[in-house]
Symmetry: C2
Amino acid sequence: MRLGHRTWLFENKPKIIATGTICGPFEGKGKIPNDFDTIHGDLWLGQDSYEKAQRVMFEEACTKAVEKAGLTKEDIEFLLAGDLINQITPSSFASRTLSAPYIGLFGACSTSMEGLALASLIVDSGFGNIVLAGTASHNAATEKQFRYPTEYGGQKPPTAQWTVTAAGAAIVSSQGEGPVVTSATLGKVIDMGMSDPFNMGGAMAPAAVDTIEAHLKDRNIDLSYYDYVFTGDLGTIGREIALDLLKKHSISVNEEKFQDCGLLIYKEDQPILAGGSGCGCSAGVTYGHLLNRMRKGEIKRMLVVATGALLSPLSFQQKETIPCIAHAVSIEAGGVGL
Amino acid sequence: MRLGHRTWLFENKPKIIATGTICGPFEGKGKIPNDFDTIHGDLWLGQDSYEKAQRVMFEEACTKAVEKAGLTKEDIEFLLAGDLINQITPSSFASRTLSAPYIGLFGACSTSMEGLALASLIVDSGFGNIVLAGTASHNAATEKQFRYPTEYGGQKPPTAQWTVTAAGAAIVSSQGEGPVVTSATLGKVIDMGMSDPFNMGGAMAPAAVDTIEAHLKDRNIDLSYYDYVFTGDLGTIGREIALDLLKKHSISVNEEKFQDCGLLIYKEDQPILAGGSGCGCSAGVTYGHLLNRMRKGEIKRMLVVATGALLSPLSFQQKETIPCIAHAVSIEAGGVGL
């Protein structure tokens, strides 16, 4: 059922019954390597292009999730996926391999929770029983498309973020066991007039706060309801801005419980500037690290707020500002809902 | 409820209560100018880029639909949109203007029915009451991105299609009057190994047939159930291949009742080669011309099968074949369902 203005409350307990997470070599040297099912030793994954490597990584995440659920790929009823690459080709080509009915999405780095929200809606409303949602990003493919080929060695300001090479996929089902997706709040496009593509976190922070505020209002709760809020990829700068904005909007927040997927994945001595980003960041961290912590009992209720910067190189060249969005999904152990 | 493998049957009568359709000057000289709400006299729409013109066109289609429904833009609960331009920026920037919670989609030219299927699911399952779905394409923006700038005057083979400059948007609601969306069949990615981006219709035809076959099986009907089947943009060549494949699969079809949106929009003497294409083609034709014919009583039941070629210029350069998809939605006057 719809709750308030833009929140979906899932009353039939759609569950994340299995996930698959894959990462690249740099992420494998990060803070949470054990939370990935597979760590690749090189960026190419045996392919002849980075885009194809991203496709393979996403296929592996999906296959791993299917295996862990004890299913075969023929059991997947719908696949919801998207990514940052033009025309989301890695997702579409992976979907050719998986051969499930396919719903292509685009939400930039918010695609992870956009997909999980829709997959949960499909399962909750009985329009599907076994739905796969996921996304991926590849550092070199993204740098090449949005900025410069990495071979140029271009300098970046400290506000820039590092695109994560990772993939994450989750199977949502009404049958089986797992953390329950209890609600989702869809994002509005928020654009505060920022136009610097090297400061995505700063641009995306207002969108995250807008969605969190709507979520709390629609569910009639405050942030203390959750053990943790995990934003998508705000990085250090975006996180600070989001905390400031939450205070300005009189939303009480425990700073230690307000964390960012882009800051959880790498070690502090890795040269990632303001933090990780990319579709695979919130997908990989949520479906690996965060759900593992939930399984261990460290987290009972969490709100994952995946943020996306909906710009393109062309819109930047045409002097447009950066429209941003954030989709929030609440995941609760055992499905203790409201 | 889900019916068979990949069909959603909408039992609560989600209705298309209003639509908005906008087109460019070349389409205004076509076969169905009176079915567009607004015909623009030039391709720029007062903007300084074709991508911005596409955004404005899509905004106008949404605004027109909202006005015709007697609503304001604040009434729109969710907007589902996408397009062919990298990172679907025209849709995302339009969604900034409309300020409704936004679900970004990518299905190439199948986006129209992907959006309508999801909007109908949201309304049917009670997760929303007033949902806007739409898409747009702009000939010059698409040519520039996928092929060559039009100023080059590059030659094309007769199998090539002409990207339609048009936008179409529909408001789906449980309240109000209008044609009923009775079911939707989601597409699988089908790739028969074709790699010629100048013969999209030929590449997409097998996807259209696959979805039609699944739809008939899932609903346990034959094509005579529908007054018409309208494919997305197969054009003359794709339509011929689709008819051959239907026969090969022993699906009985009345050729006169099997039409294509890409062949309905232009006059026969317009130089469009194999027919129209682009996201705005099936959206504009369906939400304008076809629903008008339904209102006049000429069509009672139709199946719209929007086809999409999920390639990118990069995937073509990397010698990939063209993965294709088709999403089918059945629309029935007065909601005479099964």
